[in-house]
């Protein structure tokens, strides 16, 4: 039925809800053996993309495949892909064990699997309680247990950390990493890079339904060069001295400071001392992934600063 590669491939995926374009010409692949973060601000089209991948939403254009097949061609999808999605519900009066037994039957795995996954997510003690009394975190764990029922090769998780306590997040992190190390595919979405930074190996960053960055997280870190911001007594003298020292990337900032790339703060201070330039302030800019993420995704739904009150133009009532 499918090639068993564990590869997720999204190609030129587009979804239009009426006049709203939720996802636009999105392409990326997710390989087995790694945890891939699927990042973007709320409303960027993450959930819609994942739902198209899982056959719940029909794409307007393009394809999304798992193991080289579209979801409805997988045959026994529960054995291939497990998913935790937002707005995935439970019957409030069905117990956790019964919930899992329903879907164990649908997937075609033995009932013992239900108890096994309950233990795995730490809900063994709550097996016979009705889900209606569960906390958000417990429901999230039960959703995770449901996703794991068929021992799938591919895991797709939409904002799985929502509602989880720090202990739960730590567990999830370790679990997903070891799952990927077994040669399986893990795709996990989040609107916060910091939330998944320690979990993921590579990232797909989207904004306004389009791919902004796609690749290993380390490459993203390297993209942002370290800069030294320095406030000298004489800008020109320091710039000249630095150039003579072989530093090429020097930029004057609007606040009068110099931004120097490629060297550290100590080096800049030493050059300034030799050139007889006083340094009033010096700092190294930190690699801030979150800021980079924000730069990549900014704009969408960004609020405007309040505009100053403008007087009515003359003749407005004429």
């Amino acid at each position: 039925m499918h090639d068993g590669s564990g590869l997720i491939a999204v190609q030129n995926l587009t979804k239009q809800f009426g006049s709203v374009t939720a996802v636009q010409n999105l392409s990326f692949t997710v390989s087995p053996g790694s945890v891939t973060g699927f990042l973007g601000p709320n409303g960027a089209g993450k959930t819609t993309t994942l739902r198209m991948l899982l056959g719940l939403v029909k794409p307007t254009g393009g394809t999304a495949t798992i193991n080289g097949r579209q979801f409805h061609q997988l045959g026994r999808p529960g054995r291939v892909v497990g998913a935790v999605l937002e707005a995935q519900g439970f019957h409030p009066r069905r117990t956790a064990r019964n919930h899992l037994r329903v879907y164990a039957a649908a997937i075609g795995v033995p009932d013992e699997q239900a108890d096994q996954v309950l233990g795995l997510v730490g809900l063994g003690g709550a097996a016979d309680r009705a889900v209606g009394g569960f906390s958000l975190g417990m429901k999230q764990r039960l959703a995770m247990a449901t996703a794991l029922l068929g021992d799938p090769q591919v895991l797709v998780l939409d904002e799985p950390a929502n509602g989880l306590d720090p202990e739960g997040i730590a567990w999830l992190r370790t679990f997903l990493q070891s799952y990927a190390r077994m040669g399986r595919t893990v795709l996990i979405s989040s609107h916060l890079l910091a939330e998944v930074e320690q979990t993921v190996d590579q990232v797909v960053i989207i904004s306004r339904g389009q791919t902004m960055y796609y690749g290993p997280l380390d490459h993203l870190r390297q993209q942002q060069q370290r800069r030294v911001l320095v406030q000298p007594s004489d800008v020109n003298a320091l710039a000249t001295a630095l150039r003579e020292d072989g530093v090429q990337t020097i930029e004057q900032l609007v606040d009068g400071r110099l931004a120097v790339s490629g060297v550290d703060a100590k080096h800049v201070a030493d050059v300034a001392l030799r050139a007889g330039v006083s340094v009033y302030g010096i700092q190294e800019e930190q690699v801030d992934l979150e800021r980079l993420f924000f730069q990549l995704t900014s704009g969408q739904y960004a609020g405007h600063a309040p505009a100053p009150y403008q007087q009515q133009q003359q003749g407005g009532w004429a």
């Binding site: 739902r51 999808p77 069905r94 329903v102 879907y103 649908a106 068929g150």
Partner: protein
């Protein structure tokens, strides 16, 4: 497919809805049965008065052999099958409302497989409801009427057949409409309004206006009532001896089968409605985005 059928069966047995709806079902059935028997007995008493007997002899009819409780049986069945109708309506709308439909579709080879599995499981539930309805209507009527008022073994068998059939078809109709209107409260109100109020008002309107009621026999409620009502009229006429031609229209009315066709034709007409509604719900479910 067997896997999904088992999953759907477990969905229905692991919540309380099946017995929560079965309780009012059997209460209505039992109450209807008791009342049917009482009305039948009251009619026999009425016809046994001296004046009535004289009139009967003059007309050449034998009302003391008229099994009037039969009409009540048909009406009780028709009323009680509203519950399996609602049970079916919650099959899809309940899952959409609680958002379990996402997991359901994620674990099924296709949405068509899910709908087919639901159809099979709910057909079984329709049959269970049908048997319960028949059992409790029968219990009620046996408790309150004389044996002369009761149908023979063949009659009971025929009644059981149409009762189960009507209950299964109503459940299927419910699934289809629940898929078309996937809102638990919305679809429940819509079905009750239509089956209890709308069509009966239409029938009443036609009757007052003096226009033929045949059209009602082709509508959903009219046809499903015709399934049970026409059987009851047939059973009644088979044992009633001489019945004036003009009286038959009234008999059909008593049986709740005004304007209805014969029982098998009524069944086919309602089957057609079920096919339309179920097919529509099926098509919508296959296409729609689950967001």
């Amino acid at each position: 497919m067997g896997n999904l059928v088992q999953a759907e069966l477990r969905k229905t047995t692991t919540t309380s809805l099946w017995w929560g709806l079965l309780i009012p079902t059997v209460l209505v059935a039992l109450g209807g049965g008791l009342l049917s028997g009482l009305i039948g007995r009251w009619f026999v008493d009425l016809t046994s008065t001296a004046d009535a007997e004289q009139l009967s002899e003059m007309l050449g009819v034998t009302p003391d052999q008229w099994k009037f409780s039969l009409f009540g049986i048909a009406r009780s069945i028709n009323l009680a099958t509203v519950f399996p109708l609602i049970f079916g309506a919650l099959a899809v709308s309940g899952e959409v409302g609680r958002r379990t439909i996402t997991t359901t579709f994620l674990t099924a080879p296709s949405r068509m497989h899910t709908m087919l599995a639901k159809m099979l499981v709910y057909a079984l539930w329709g049959a269970i409801y049908g048997l319960a309805i028949m059992g409790f209507v029968a219990l009620g009527v046996v408790l309150t009427s004389t044996s002369a008022q009761l149908p023979d073994a063949g009659g009971w068998a025929m009644l059981t057949l149409v009762c189960v059939l009507s209950s299964i078809l109503m459940t299927m109709f419910g699934i289809g409409l629940g898929a078309l209107v996937p809102n638990v409260a919305g679809v429940t109100v819509l079905l009750i309004m239509y089956f209890v109020v709308v069509e009966n008002s239409l029938l009443l309107g036609l009757r007052i206006a003096g226009t033929p009621e045949t059209v009602v026999g082709f509508l959903p409620n009219g046809s499903v009532n015709g399934l049970t009502g026409s059987v009851v009229v047939d059973l009644f006429l088979a044992k009633a001896g001489v019945v004036p031609e003009e009286a038959i229209t009234f008999l059909r009315m008593f049986a709740g089968a005004g304007g209805a066709q014969s029982w098998w034709l009524s069944g086919l007409i309602f089957l057609g409605w079920v096919a339309v509604v179920f097919g529509g719900g099926w098509a919508l479910t296959a296409r729609k985005d689950i967001t």
